[in-house]
Structure formats: structure tokens, C-alpha cells
């Protein structure tokens, strides 16, 4: 499988201020990669390095098989970029912006009309009259109208209502099904959870996890609640590795946290008892995410998920 995005020891400093540090990242063709992290931890810096807008302090980046240079342009013909903060020419109309941006690609975007219709965008209005959500729609149309091979999106649904967010997710999924690769940067966890199969978590400019979404969840804790038909002793789970924090809610109900691959053994263990009810709550991506942002050293957080914080 071809690597569409690759960074090798990419570092960017703004004077003494850290942007990203020693970032090693690889996104394969057709992947949907979520790049998670709070504001200011290096997500946008990474994207801007990938687009050749920022000069890397050290390391290098490759996009669609070509080395990223500051003066490159051919590469960007194959990329659709939706910025995190949308800044446009306020005095111009949406129509003018679409024509202007299309001009750089040699003609009108093949999907422009369709996207305008699906996102219910009115291109005749001036940019200064548009709400944040409508500006975001315009940025999405500009980024997607030429059917790019690679979508680089920085919080693409910011400012959109839930209905339009769904439309955007549908459009993204259609593009991915058609073979496009998605690099989605966000601090909105539900957004990443909705569309990405793999996720990288960045903290203080360093990649602390780069995992398959399923693996990432599997490594995290689940909340277990079991109600037995008979009175049980809290030590009933004794010996099942990965079951911790056992609390007796009453004489028949126990709660516990289940970590890693303990579920299979746990179910087998429960099968030896009469169980009247059981719930296992999966950790949301938010729970996973928060694991990385506890007040603990980066190395500890990375080690918890097998990531590399070096």
C-alpha cells in the first residue's frame, strides 16, 4: 500500500516555542487518519508543514510520494485542504471565491454544483454577510470540489449544525470509498470517532499514540456492572486479570473496571454463575483521550498505549 503522508523526525519551533517535535507519522493510501490533540499542541503546525506553508526546523515530510518543499505547487493540485479557521476576502461573494479558487486549478470543480446543493450554500452572498457555519461550508466546497486524492481537514465541521455535520461526514465517507485518503485533525473527539479508522494522539508537540481505533479502545478500560441471581462475594472476580476496582453496590450487584483483553476470561468466569443482568460500557474516545492528558509525563502516557514519545 502506498504511503500518502509521511513525516520523518519532523520538528518545528517558533523561536524557542515548540510546535511539533520529532514527529514520525505515516498514513497509507485510502486510510482515514484522525489526528487528535488539544489546541496548541501541534496539529495545525503539522498540517502547515505538510502543505509547505511552514519551514520545518528539522526533519522532512512526504506527501503523495513527493517531498514537501516550500515552493511546490503541483502537489497541492491533488490535495483538498479545509483550514481550521476560515479566512476569506470579506468583500467578495461566495461565487467569486469559488471561481477564484477554481482558476488556480484550471477550471470549475467537477463537484461544485453538487456540494453547493447538498450543503445548501448560497454563493451569491458576500463573505462578510455569512455566518461562521456558512463560511465553513464555503471552505468545505473549495476543499472538496475538485475530487482531491488527499483530504487534509482541520476541524471541518466547526460551526456547522448537526444536520450539516452529517452531510459533511457522508461526503467525506463517499470520497474515502472512492479511494481518497483522509487526514482529519481535530480536538472534537466524536468527529474522529465517527469517520476515522486510525488515530494519532499528539501531546505537547509529540506523538504519544498512533493506533488503530479498535486497538485503542481495546486497551482502554470498560465499566462493568453485573447483577447476580444469588448473593455473591466481591472476591468472585478474584484471579481474573484486568478486572479492578471491584465495588459491591449491593449484595448481588458488583461494578468493576475491565482493562485490555480481560473481557473474554471475564465472560467465561461469569458463565460459572447465575447472572440476571450485565452491562459493559465501552470507553468513549473522550475517555481514551483524557487518559493521555492527565497530569503525568508524556513518556508514561505513551507507554500506557504502546506509543512512542521519544
Amino acid at each position: 500500500m502506498a504511503t500518502v503522508i509521511e513525516t520523518r523526525k519532523l520538528s518545528k519551533f517558533y523561536g524557542k516555542h515548540r510546535g511539533v517535535v520529532d514527529l514520525d507519522l505515516a498514513v497509507e493510501k485510502g486510510e482515514t487518519f484522525g489526528f487528535l490533540g488539544p489546541n496548541g499542541d501541534g496539529k495545525t503546525t503539522t498540517i502547515r508543514c505538510l502543505l509547505g506553508m511552514l519551514k520545518a526546523t528539522e526533519g522532512e515530510s512526504y506527501v503523495l510520494g513527493e517531498k514537501v518543499t516550500l515552493d511546490g505547487s503541483a502537489l497541492r493540485r491533488r490535495i483538498g485542504y479545509v483550514p481550521g479557521e476560515v479566512f476569506m476576502y470579506e468583500k467578495e461573494t461566495g461565487r467569486w471565491m469559488l471561481d477564484y479558487m477554481s482558476g488556480f486549478r484550471g477550471g470549475k470543480g467537477a463537484r461544485e454544483a453538487e456540494l453547493i446543493e447538498r450543503l445548501e450554500f448560497d454563493p451569491s452572498r458576500r463573505i462578510k454577510e455569512l455566518s461562521k457555519g456558512n463560511k465553513q461550508k464555503l471552505a468545505l466546497i473549495i476543499g472538496l470540489m475538485h475530487d482531491p486524492e488527499l483530504l487534509i481537514m482541520d476541524e471541518p465541521t466547526s460551526g456547522l449544525d448537526p444536520l450539516n455535520q452529517e452531510v459533511v461526514f457522508d461526503i467525506i465517507e463517499e470520497r474515502v470509498q472512492a479511494g481518497a485518503t483522509l487526514f482529519l485533525s481535530s480536538h472534537i473527539l466524536s468527529e474522529v470517532e465517527r469517520v476515522c479508522a486510525r488515530v494519532g494522539i499528539i501531546r505537547e508537540g509529540r506523538l504519544v499514540a498512533d493506533e488503530n481505533m479498535r486497538d485503542l479502545f481495546a486497551k482502554r478500560q470498560r465499566e462493568l456492572s453485573v447483577t447476580f441471581s444469588d448473593v455473591v462475594d466481591p472476591s468472585v472476580f478474584g484471579g481474573v486479570k484486568g478486572v479492578e476496582d471491584i465495588i459491591a453496590v449491593d449484595s448481588r450487584t458488583l461494578t468493576a473496571t475491565v482493562t485490555g483483553d480481560a473481557v473474554d476470561e471475564l465472560i467465561k468466569h461469569l458463565a460459572t454463575h447465575r447472572v440476571s443482568d450485565v452491562t459493559i460500557q465501552h470507553a468513549s474516545l473522550e475517555d481514551v483521550f483524557m487518559e493521555f492528558y492527565r497530569d503525568e509525563p508524556i513518556e508514561t502516557a505513551a507507554a500506557a498505549l504502546g506509543g512512542d514519545a521519544s
Binding site: M53, K55, D71, A74, F87
Partner: protein, 265 residues
């Protein structure tokens, strides 16, 4: 060069350029119209009552104020024109790069298939278009309306004024453009270039009234702009062409190299 970017640039600056050009056409025509009424012996008598230092505020005090060249230099081209035209080119230059970065629109532009080289060269082409337009807006009306008001400049004089005027403004605009290409805030190129022009104007004034500042004269761009001498004598020093072309070239090269290496967000 990107034709799309050039068209977009000129579209966005159209009213800015139009109003500056229209003002210059009106100003030039007004000065042509004033000449028969204000020029000549009465005007010379009025000027002679002024202290030499005050005359020096408007440029070369050595030139005969009562002459056509002296009249145009004192009343128009020596100070007012510089202020108007410098405002136009500095405004264009600052918006070309630094304001785009400061406003965040550069990110959108450079995420399109547009190389930095094409971007900066196209914006330079816009600067050329600006200086040619405003130079034409200044000197073509003098040439067109002049014969009706006893002003008859030779074609050679007209082209000298047009060419040197454009090159002078290109030098100023290029300097501002260079600062713009290296800044991320449109206010800085405007402030620095305006301060530099003000300093040069003070320097030119000091040269007229004191020998103390003579050593600085070769470094003063304003000292090479002698429209009165061109109008009266139909000639000018070749140094002026070289200095303005040199400043413009160096500034634009630095702008190009600097922009290609810098962060643009």
C-alpha cells in the same frame, strides 16, 4: 506568473487604484489650469517674498520658481504628488503579502496549486501595473490638457517624466514590498516606509539649507527626483535612473528570496 492571481489582485484593488488615478488626473489637470493664472511674474513675486527655507520644503531651491518646471515642482510634483503616489504604492505593497498573511487569506491561497514563486512574481507584476497606471494618470493629463494652457512639453520630456516618475515610485513601492514580504503585519511596511520617506524629505530639506547634510544626499532617493529640471531643461542625471532601478531591483530580489524561505502563516 499566475494570470488568475493577477486578475484577482487587480479586481480586489480596482477601487483603490481607480480613486488614486482619478485624483491624480484631476490634480494634474488642475495644476495645468492654474499655470496661466498663477505662473509668471506675479507668481515669481509671491514666491520671492517667501524665505528660502520655505521654498526648500517643496524641493530644489536652485530652480527658478517662476518657471514652468519650478511651478510644477513647488506646487505639485515636489511634495504633494510624492505623498499621494507613495500612499498608493505603499498601500498596495503592504496588502500584497503581509496583510494576506496577517488576515489569514495567504493560507487559503497557498493551499491551492499556486507556487510561492508565482505568487510573489505576480504580486510584483501588480506593483508594476500600479506604478505605470499612476504615472500615466499623472503625466498624460499634463500632456493632453497642457497645450490649451500654454504648456507644451516635448515628447521626450513627457517620457522622461513618465518613466522616471514610474521608476521613482517603483523604488519606493519595492522597498515597501520587500518589508511586506518579510512581515506578517501590514502595518509595519507602511510605518517603516512612510518614516523613511519622511526622513528623506527632512534630509532633502536640510541639504537645501545647510551644508551639514550634504554627505547624506547621495543616499536620499528624493534628491534624485527633479521634475522641475526635467520640465525646464528636458534633461536629467543618469544617476537617477540607476539609483531608482538599483533600489527597486535589490528590494524585489530580497522580497523574492525572503518570501520563498519564510513561514507564511
Amino acid at each position: 506568473m499566475s494570470w488568475t492571481l493577477f486578475k484577482g489582485t487587480m479586481h480586489q484593488r480596482r477601487w483603490h487604484l481607480f480613486w488614486f488615478s482619478a485624483s491624480l488626473v484631476a490634480f494634474s489637470w488642475m495644476m495645468v489650469w492654474f499655470w496661466p493664472q498663477m505662473g509668471g511674474a506675479d507668481y515669481a513675486q509671491l514666491i520671492e517674498t517667501m524665505p528660502q527655507e520655505m521654498i526648500a520644503l517643496f524641493g530644489d531651491a536652485d530652480i527658478s520658481i517662476a518657471s514652468l518646471g519650478g511651478f510644477f515642482q513647488t506646487e505639485y510634483l515636489g511634495l504633494m504628488w510624492i505623498v499621494i503616489v507613495a500612499s498608493a504604492v505603499i498601500g498596495y505593497a503592504s496588502k500584497s503579502v503581509a496583510t494576506e498573511i496577517g488576515n489569514g487569506t495567504m493560507e487559503l491561497l497557498l493551499s491551492q496549486p499556486l507556487s510561492r514563486s508565482k505568487f510573489i512574481l505576480t504580486r510584483m507584476a501588480g506593483l508594476f501595473a500600479y506604478v505605470l497606471t499612476i504615472s500615466a494618470a499623472t503625466f498624460v493629463p499634463i500632456q493632453i490638457f497642457g497645450p490649451g494652457y500654454d504648456i507644451d512639453l516635448s515628447a521626450e520630456t513627457f517620457w522622461m517624466l513618465f518613466g522616471l516618475g514610474a521608476l521613482f515610485m517603483l523604488a519606493i513601492g519595492s522597498f515597501a514590498f520587500m518589508l511586506s514580504a518579510l512581515s506578517r503585519d501590514g502595518g509595519r511596511p507602511v510605518a517603516i516606509t512612510s518614516a523613511m520617506i519622511a526622513a528623506m524629505w527632512i534630509g532633502a530639506f536640510l541639504v537645501q539649507v545647510s551644508d551639514f547634510a550634504d554627505a547624506l544626499e547621495p543616499f536620499n532617493l528624493l534628491s534624485y527626483w527633479e521634475p522641475g529640471k526635467i520640465i525646464n531643461e528636458g534633461a536629467l542625471s543618469t544617476d537617477a535612473w540607476w539609483v531608482y532601478a538599483g533600489v527597486a531591483t535589490v528590494s524585489l530580489v530580497v522580497a523574492y528570496v525572503g518570501f520563498l524561505r519564510r513561514d507564511v502563516t
